[in-house]
C-alpha cells in the first residue's frame, strides 16, 4: 500500500504529537471499509514502531463529518454463511482500536463533525474526546438499523456508564445527541466553540497530560476498576436484572427486534467478563445481526430508501429548486391549523383562511399552543416562538391571499366544497401559484377540474397530527406537470417532512393499503378470532396498534363511506364481511373513539378494555386459527395490496412504498416496509425472497380466501428473481 492509498494519515509534529487523520481518498465520508481497516492497522503499528519521542496522539478527520460509521453497502450483502469472515473483520476493526486505546501515551479524539456509529466508536477508544460546537450529531444509532455498535460501542459504554445507563440512554433506542447533549451525557469531555480551536485544544490536552500515566489509561484498564452500578453478581443489580428483558418486550409490544435483544444480551454478558472477552461477545452478536435478514430490511428502509427520497430520488430532475414566499392555507380546522404551523415554522408567511375570522384565529392559536409547549420544554426561545406565530395571518377574506404563491386547501373531504374554496381564492393569488389539496382519498384529477389550471394542481396528503407525522403523500393528477410535482416536493422537504409520490387513484397508496388491514381485522373478528388476539397479533407483528383500535380512531362512519365508494368502484353489490361488522357496530351506537364507544370502551376519551358485549355479537370460536396466521394475514393483505398498486402504476418506487407504509400507516418498521416485506420475506423454514412470499400467500389463499392469491405479475417477478423498482 502506498501512502496516498491510505485512509488514515500519519503525521508527527515537533512536539512529538502524532495526528492520525481519517481521510478516505475514494469517498467524501469515512466508513469502516477494507481500506480503513488496513490503514488503521498500519497507522497504529507505526505508532508503536515510532513510539520514541511520541508524547501523545490526536485522532482527527479531514472530512466534513468525523466518520460515518459501518460500511452498509457491504453489510446488506452479508449472508449467514459469511459469518466467519464478518466476525474476523469486526475483530480486526476492534483489534486496532484496542491497540490504540492501550498505547501508553494519551490519545484524544478531535471531533469536527457527525460521529455516529463507527465514528463514535473510534472516538470512544480515545482517552479524551473534544468536539467542536456545531449542528451535527453524535451517537450510536445502530439499533435503528437492526444492528448493534459492534466496534466496541457496547463494551465501552457499559464500562463508561454502567449496564443500565448504557442500554437505556445510548444503545437500545440508538439515540443521536446534539453536541451540547453529548457533553452533558458524558459522551464527549470537552466542547470548543470553533473549528480552529479544535486541533490546538486536542494538542494542548495531550501536552498537559504527556507524563500522566493514568490519563493514558482507560478507566477499565486501571487497577481496581469496577463497572458503575455493578454486574449481575451484585445483588442490587441482580434484584432487577430479570425485569430488563421483560421491560424491553413491553416497550416493543412483543414485536421482534433482534438488535435490541442482542444489545441487551451483549451488554449484560459482557459485564461479567474482562474487556477483551466482552468485546468478542459483542462481535459475535454483531455478526449474527449483520448476517440476518432483519438488519437488511431496516438498513434498506431507514438508510438507503430514506436517503434516496431525501436526496430527491422521487423528484423530477432538472427543475430548479423552489421555495414559496407566501402560503395560503384554506380551512383552519385540525389539518389546516397543523399545516399553517409547519409552514410558519419553516419560515413561510402564512395566510390562514376560514369562513369566519373566529375559526381562522382558533386555527392560529394551535401554533401558539405548540409554541408554548416548545418554550416550556426549552426546545425554542420565546423570541423564535413570537416570530413563528407572527408569520400566521388569520383571515376570512379571500382578498388577503393576494401574492400567495402556494395554496394548500384543507377543508372537509367534499369535492364540491373543495371546488368552491378554490374558486373563491384563485382570482386573488399569484397567477402561477402552486395549488395543493389535502385529501386522504378524493381523486386529484377530479378535484383539479375545479380549477382553470389543472397542470398546477396536486394532491398533498398530510397525516394527523401534522406537526408530528413525518410523511406527506404527494398525488399527481392526470394533468399535473413535472414542474408542479418538483415544487410540491420542495415544499414538503421545506417543512421537514418526507415526501412520497404516487399517481392518482382511489385512496392513493396509503389510505388504500391501510383499508385492507382494517378489513382483514374485522373479517377475522367475524370469523371468531379472539379480539385481543387480533390486536396483539398486530403489535407482535410490529404495528403500533391493532386494527380494531385503528377502526375506532378512524371512525366507523368514515370507514363505511370509504367501503361504499370502494365497492361502487369495483362494481360489487354485496357488502364484504368487514362491512357488515361496520354496519352492526354503527347500528349498536358504537362507531368511534370520538363518540366514546367502539370496539373498545372509553372513559373520558381514554381507551379501556374491549367492549364486553363484543363477544355476544361475534362469539370467539372454539377452535382458533394459528396465531402466526393472525399476524401474517395483516401483513400479507397490506403487502399484496402494495403489489397491486405497483401493477396499476399507483406507486412506482419501492422506496416510496417502504417509507410511505412505515411512516404513513404504521406498517411494521422491522420489516423494512411493505415492498421490502415481500422481497425480504423469510419463511418459517428459512427461505428468503419473493418466491417464499408468493408460496406463503398461496397458503393463506387456500385457508382464508382468494384475496391472498398473488397476481400473475407477482408470480412472474418471483420466478424471474425480479424486485420492485427502487
Amino acid at each position: 500500500m502506498t501512502e496516498t492509498q491510505s485512509a488514515v494519515r500519519y503525521d508527527k509534529d515537533a512536539d512529538g504529537i502524532v495526528t492520525l487523520t481519517l481521510d478516505d481518498p475514494h469517498q467524501s465520508a469515512n466508513t469502516m471499509n477494507q481500506l480503513y481497516i488496513a490503514s488503521m492497522r498500519e497507522a497504529v503499528e507505526k505508532l508503536y514502531d515510532d513510539a520514541e519521542g511520541t508524547v501523545g496522539v490526536v485522532i482527527a478527520s479531514a472530512k466534513k463529518t468525523f466518520f460515518a460509521g459501518g460500511d452498509l453497502k457491504m453489510m446488506i450483502q452479508a449472508r449467514p454463511e459469511d459469518a466467519p469472515r464478518i466476525f474476523e473483520e469486526v475483530e480486526q476493526v476492534k483489534a486496532s482500536l484496542r491497540r490504540l486505546e492501550t498505547f501508553p501515551k494519551p490519545v484524544v479524539a478531535a471531533i469536527n463533525g457527525a460521529a455516529l456509529g463507527g465514528g463514535l466508536e473510534i472516538a470512544l477508544a480515545a482517552n479524551h474526546r473534544i468536539a467542536v460546537d456545531g449542528r451535527y450529531e453524535i451517537g450510536l444509532p445502530e439499533a435503528t438499523l437492526g444492528l448493534l455498535p459492534g466496534g466496541g460501542g457496547v463494551t465501552r459504554t457499559v464500562r463508561m456508564f454502567g449496564i443500565q445507563t448504557a442500554i437505556m440512554d445510548f444503545l437500545l433506542q440508538g439515540t443521536r445527541f446534539k453536541v451540547a447533549q453529548a457533553k452533558e451525557k458524558g459522551l464527549v469531555d470537552e466542547v470548543v466553540a470553533t473549528y480552529d480551536e479544535l486541533i490546538p485544544a486536542a494538542k494542548a490536552w495531550v501536552l498537559a497530560h504527556a507524563d500522566d500515566e493514568a490519563a493514558a489509561k482507560q478507566p477499565w484498564d486501571r487497577p481496581g476498576y469496577k463497572i458503575p452500578g455493578g454486574t449481575p453478581s451484585n445483588p442490587k443489580l441482580a434484584a432487577f436484572l430479570p425485569a430488563f428483558p421483560a421491560l424491553l418486550r413491553k416497550q416493543l409490544k412483543g414485536a421482534d427486534y433482534p438488535a435490541q435483544k442482542a444489545i441487551l444480551s451483549a451488554a449484560v454478558e459482557g459485564s461479567q467478563v474482562d474487556f477483551d472477552t466482552a468485546s468478542r461477545i459483542e462481535s459475535r452478536y454483531m455478526t449474527k445481526l449483520v448476517t440476518g435478514q432483519n438488519s437488511k430490511n431496516m438498513i434498506q428502509a431507514f438508510f438507503f430508501d430514506l436517503q434516496a427520497i431525501n436526496s430527491g430520488s422521487l423528484r423530477p430532475q432538472g427543475i430548479e429548486p423552489w421555495k414559496p414566499t407566501r402560503a395560503g392555507v384554506l380551512g383552519a380546522g385540525m389539518m389546516g391549523a397543523g399545516i399553517a404551523y409547519v409552514l410558519a415554522r419553516a419560515g413561510v408567511a402564512v395566510v390562514l383562511k376560514d369562513v369566519a375570522l373566529e375559526n381562522a384565529e382558533k386555527g392560529r392559536s394551535y401554533t401558539a399552543a405548540l409554541n408554548e409547549k416548545g418554550v416550556s420544554r426549552g426546545k425554542i426561545t420565546s423570541e423564535l416562538a413570537d416570530e413563528i406565530l407572527g408569520r400566521i395571518t388569520p383571515t376570512a377574506d379571500a382578498a388577503d391571499l393576494a401574492g400567495c404563491d402556494l395554496v394548500i386547501e384543507a377543508v372537509f373531504e367534499n369535492p364540491n366544497l373543495k371546488h368552491q374554496v378554490f374558486g373563491e381564492i384563485l382570482p386573488h393569488v399569484s397567477p402561477d401559484a402552486l395549488l395543493c389539496s389535502n385529501t386522504s382519498t378524493l381523486p386529484i384529477t377530479d378535484l383539479a377540474k375545479g380549477v382553470d389550471r389543472p397542470q398546477d394542481f396536486i394532491g398533498l396528503h398530510f397525516f394527523s397530527p401534522v406537526d408530528k407525522m413525518p410523511l406527506v403523500e404527494i398525488i399527481t393528477g392526470k394533468e399535473t406537470t413535472d414542474e408542479t410535482l418538483a415544487r410540491a416536493y420542495d415544499v414538503v422537504q421545506l417543512i421537514r417532512k418526507t415526501p412520497i409520490v404516487v399517481n392518482d387513484s382511489r385512496g392513493f397508496y396509503t389510505s388504500r393499503v391501510i383499508g385492507t388491514v382494517i378489513n382483514e381485522g374485522l373479517e377475522m373478528l367475524k370469523e371468531g378470532v379472539a379480539p385481543y388476539s387480533i390486536e396483539r397479533a398486530a403489535t407482535q407483528a410490529g404495528y403500533p396498534v391493532g386494527p380494531l383500535q385503528i377502526a375506532d380512531e378512524l371512525n366507523l362512519e368514515t370507514i363505511k363511506k370509504i367501503m361504499l365508494e370502494t365497492r361502487k368502484g369495483h362494481g360489487l353489490e354485496q357488502p364484504l364481511a368487514a362491512e357488515t361488522v361496520v354496519d352492526r357496530m354503527i347500528e349498536l351506537g358504537r362507531p368511534s373513539k370520538l363518540k366514546g364507544a367502539g370496539f373498545y370502551e372509553y372513559v373520558d376519551g381514554r381507551r379501556q378494555a374491549i367492549w364486553s358485549g363484543l363477544a355476544e355479537e361475534y362469539p370467539v370460536a372454539e377452535e382458533q386459527i394459528p396465531f402466526v396466521d393472525v399476524k401474517e394475514r395483516q401483513l400479507f393483505i397490506e403487502a399484496l395490496e402494495t403489489a397491486k398498486c405497483f401493477e396499476e402504476g399507483v406507486i412506482t418506487s419501492a422506496a416510496a412504498a417502504n417509507i410511505g407504509s412505515i411512516m404513513g400507516i404504521g406498517f411494521p418498521p422491522n420489516t423494512g416496509g411493505a415492498a421490502q416485506f415481500m422481497t425480504g420475506y423469510e419463511s418459517a423454514t428459512g427461505e428468503i425472497g419473493l418466491a417464499a412470499f408468493v408460496a406463503r400467500a398461496d397458503e393463506l389463499a387456500e385457508k382464508y380466501g382468494d384475496r391472498f392469491r398473488p397476481t400473475d405479475r407477482l408470480r412472474e417477478m418471483a420466478a424471474n428473481g425480479e424486485s420492485f423498482p427502487a
Binding site: P232, P235, R249, K250, V268, Y532, R536
Partner: protein, 403 residues
Amino acid sequence: MAEAFVYDHIRTPRGKGKASGSLHEVKPVDLVVGLLDEIKVRNPGLDPERIDDLVLGVVSPIGDQGGDIAKTAALKAGYPHTVAGVQLNRFCASGLEAVNQGASRVRGGFEDLILAGGVESMSRVPIGSDGGAWAMDPATALLTDFVPQGIGADLIATLEGFSREDVDAYAAESQARAAKAQANGYFDNAVVPVKDLNGVVVLERDEFIRPGTTVESLAGLKPSFADLGQGAGFDDVALEKYHWLEKINHVHHAGNSSGIVDGAAIVVLGNEQVGQDLGLTPRAKVLATAVSGAEPTIMLTGPAPAARKALARAGLEVGDIDLFEINEAFAAVAMRFMRDMGISHDITNVNGGAIAMGHPLGATGAMILGTLIDELERRGLRRGLATLCVGGGMGIATIVELV
C-alpha cells in the same frame, strides 16, 4: 425387581423464614444433622454402615447451603465415612425428587438403603439468590419467555376464572385444616423438635400456621405480583403467549401463597432385605414416580401431567387413589390440579398445606409425602399421591401404597 419401602420419615417444624423466625439462628447443616441424629434414635436397629447415600434437595445451594450440604451433614452427624452424600435441585420438587431418585436406586437394585429428603433455610439463603440463566441471562430469558412464578399463578387464576374470593376461600380452608390437624396432634409423630447445642429446644412445632384466618381477614392483603406484572413488564411477556386475554388478574398475595419458611425432612428408603436385616418395619412402598412438563411461562400446571404419568406407570386410575397431596405453592395451583384431575377437596390436602404451614423449597416434597403416609395410616386407607408444581413448567408425582 426389588420394592422400595418407606421405613420412616421425619421432619423439622417449619420456622418463619425471616430474621425473627425461630429457625433463623439454626444453620441449615444443623437442621439436617438434628434429623440424622433422630433417625438413629428412632431406629436403633438401623446400622448407619448400611446406608449407601444421603440425597438432599436444596433449591438455592449456595452459601450456607452450598458445597454438597448432604455429605457435609453426614460427616457432622458422625455417620460412617462410607455414607455418601449428594445435593440435587429440581426447584420446588427437590425434596420429592430426592425421594424418587432414592426409591429408583433401591428399586433398580444397585443400592439397599438411602436417606432422602431436603433442606432449605429461606431466611438465610433467600429464594432466587443462586441466580441462574433462566432469570438472569437476557438472551436465555428472551428466548424462553421467563416470568416469575407468581405471574404464572395469577395467569392460572385468570384462565380458570378463580376470583380473589375463590383463592382466599381456599387459603382460609388450608389454614383451618392445618390448625385442626396440628391441634389434634396429627403431625406429632413426624415432627422432630429442633434443639440447640445444649439440647435445649429451639422450635417444637410449625410456627407459620395462623388459626382463625378467614376470607375476610385475607381481603385486605395487597396482591403480591401486580407491580412485578405491570411495572416490570412480566404481564406483557405472559400475554404475548396468552394473547386472547385482556389482562392478568392478580389475585395471589402472601396469605394465599405458600409461606416462606425454614425446615428440613428425611425419608428412610430401603429394599425388603435391608429392612429384615435391621429389624425395620416398612410403612409404605413407592408404586410409581414421574416427572413431566407443561408450558413454562404459566409454569405451574405440571402436576396433572406428572400425576397422570405416574398413574399410568402404576396401572392405576384417579379413582384408585384415596388421598392427594398437592403442594400449595399458590392457591390457584392446587385448585387447578383438583379441576384437572376431577378430584374433590375432601380427599386433597386434608390436613392443609403450604399456604398454612410454609414451603421450605428443597424439603417440601419429602414433607408432604410423609404427611400423606401418616394420614393414610390414620384413616386406614391404602394409596396416596403426592405432587408439586415445579419451576420451568415441570411437575412431579409419587404414588405410595401402605403395606
